[in-house]
């Protein structure tokens, strides 16, 4: 039977699958129960698994995450939802001071198999704090894993891997492309390993590293310049922390050029880390300065300005051409 899903449906199916086989999994957050989540990621979970395992909470992000710490300590596997990644800040203290540290603090006595899901990124004409890309904030914290899918197939496999991971995973979902396209996805559960990037297209002239909602835009950019006969290798990072250095370095050793495209601000962003890795491990292979095309070092603009903020396929195409012509 065909199982063609968009990203939001794939995320829903991942939880459906896992809750069936693992009754220690609980799902909770704001509006995830009756409503099925503001983006419908948790739709029908409560109907299927009951109010005891899928429930709405009072409106308090810190307690949603803080109680998940307690639940994980006490043998459950909580999957909690932040309604938007820009709403995760009240829970920042719990994430940094406890979620990331409990294993190390207790020298392995208390571990936290838990997932914090949140839609991230702009482009949906939303209110303030509904659009930011916060992956870099969390990727600097030892003890956390940060994962971002870019397709329905990856969303399901990575979320299942995150749920089964013995350590806490922040699963940031590219809401701009939640419903952008559908893919044939296996109906049964499967895992895509955390910590491994994916080479989406092989090439020899330029390496592009990107993730999440920027991947389709990078692909559009590649379409815009397909007549230029530039052989592009496209890497979807998939896991932001820990970064798969091997795949990036191997690619740049082949192409000699790298462009990192991300939506978050430039300064001290994940792109800076990727370029440092390239400088450390592939310096002598470089044909051109490693380059970043990112969001500005500004607050994410309200809807009337957001088209200027997110790197467009046209800007991405120009960055690729500039890099090759250097």
């Amino acid at each position: 039977m065909s199982n063609t899903l968009n990203i939001i449906q794939a995320i829903n199916q991942a939880m459906m699958n896992e809750m069936k086989t693992d009754n220690t999994i609980v799902v909770y957050g704001e509006d995830v129960g009756i409503e099925g989540g503001v983006f419908r990621a948790t739709i029908d979970l409560q109907k299927t698994y009951g109010k005891e395992r899928v429930f709405d909470t009072p409106l308090a992000e810190s307690a949603i995450i803080g109680t998940a710490v307690g639940m994980a300590i006490n043998g459950l596997k909580p999957i909690v939802e932040m309604q938007f990644s820009g709403f995760s800040y009240p829970g920042f203290n719990q994430i940094i001071t406890h979620v990331a540290r409990m294993r190390n603090r207790s020298r392995g006595q208390y571990t936290l198999p838990m997932v914090i899901r949140a839609p991230y990124g702009g482009g949906i004409r939303a209110l303030e704090h509904h659009s930011e890309s916060t992956e870099a904030l969390y990727s600097q914290i030892p003890g956390l894993k940060v994962v971002i899918p870019s397709s329905p197939y990856d969303a399901k496999g990575l979320l299942i891997a995150a749920i089964r991971d013995p350590d806490p995973v922040l699963f940031w979902e590219p809401k701009r492309i939640y419903r952008a396209f559908k893919q044939e996805v296996p109906e049964e559960a499967y895992e895509i390993p955390i910590g491994k990037a994916k080479v989406m297209k092989k090439g020899t002239d330029v390496t592009i590293v990107s993730w999440g909602a920027m991947i389709p835009d990078v692909q559009k950019a590649m379409g815009l310049i397909e007549n230029e006969e530039i052989s592009i290798e496209l890497i979807d990072l998939r896991t932001i922390s820990p970064i798969d250095r091997e795949t990036i370095v191997e690619s740049v050793q082949k192409t000699g050029r790298i462009l990192v495209v991300h939506e978050a601000p430039k300064t001290l962003g994940v792109g800076a880390e990727i370029i440092s890795i390239v400088n450390e491990k592939a310096f002598l292979y470089l044909e051109a300065p490693p380059t970043r095309l990112t969001g500005f070092d500004t607050t994410f603009p309200l809807p009337r300005g957001e088209k200027h903020y997110i790197p467009s396929p046209e800007r991405i195409a120009k960055s690729i051409l500039d890099l090759v012509k250097y």
Partner: protein, 360 residues
Amino acid sequence: MDLKNYNPLDNKVYQVLNPKGEVMLKDDIPSLDEEQLLYLYKMMLYTRTIDDKALSYQRQGRMLTYAPNTGQEAAQIGSAFAMEKNDWLVPAFRELGAWLVRGVPLKNIYLYWYGNEWGSHHPEGVKVLPISVPIASQMQHATGIGMANNIKGEDSVVVTYVGDGGTSHGDFHEALNFAQVFNAPVVFIIQNNQYAISTSRKIQTMSENLALKAVAYGMTGIVVDGNDIFAMYNATKKAIEKARSGNGPTLIEAYTYRLGAHTTSDDPTKYRNNEEVEEWRVKDPVIRFRNYLLDNNILDTDWEEKTKSELEKEVMETFESIEDKSDTEIEDIFKYHYEEMTPQLKEQYEEYLAFLQGGN
């Protein structure tokens, strides 16, 4: 006793023994045998000895920062003694007496303050979480453990502690609210020792007392004389029984006083006067309980002297067993961030080892 008779809106304080150790509520003397009573007294002496020694080691430069408990022994020991075998303890950072009663070895406690993470890894079966430095954040873990008990159908209860300063935190509010909404079996104990470092309880909140904060959550609250070990034991026991039988969480304010400093790095004479401290010395929980035991011919002073010197010896030997022998294993710094070290961690660890071994 009935928790309901002490509505915090009436600002009543539950007390069984007055500061002289005289019985105020005859019917509320808990039915503990002599052995149990002497155990409680011994734990008070133990806690105080550990404090005294830690402070003297610290002054000698042999111990790092230490948070003393003196004056709060009854609040800690009385409450923890009401817990059952499978109950969880979620500490803040000043609950020495409670940790000891719940089976945390002194060696771990000293190891923690001495600066080694292994001090937070407790023996199998000791359900005590590590010390939580971020104020009030641990209360949410307690609520989460309790919520998980409800989901799993387990009947253990969670006891968690916070200070008076912690009641100003958003996490305090969120933890209490969630606990009541989800009927979590949790007992929240505020050790109101009147100071958050130098900040007086009086400017922490304009609430008449701290237990009445429970009222807005629809929760039972009670103010207890925190220097009265019987009052603390009874109130906590009632709250635990209530939680275990599915009747929800309770907020207990243990009204007490920190006779010492916040930690060894502050000087309390700068923010409070001696008269105030002397007033509270008269209410010392250890002296109060001792008077009760003497008045009732339970305590033998020869036993007391012998016990004190045995405890002192044990405490000194325990400290010496870790002193200068507790440097962190380098691998441990890297090993416990994830189930498996990431390639990044492995590389950093190996590079550092190579440096130490004099490689290039």
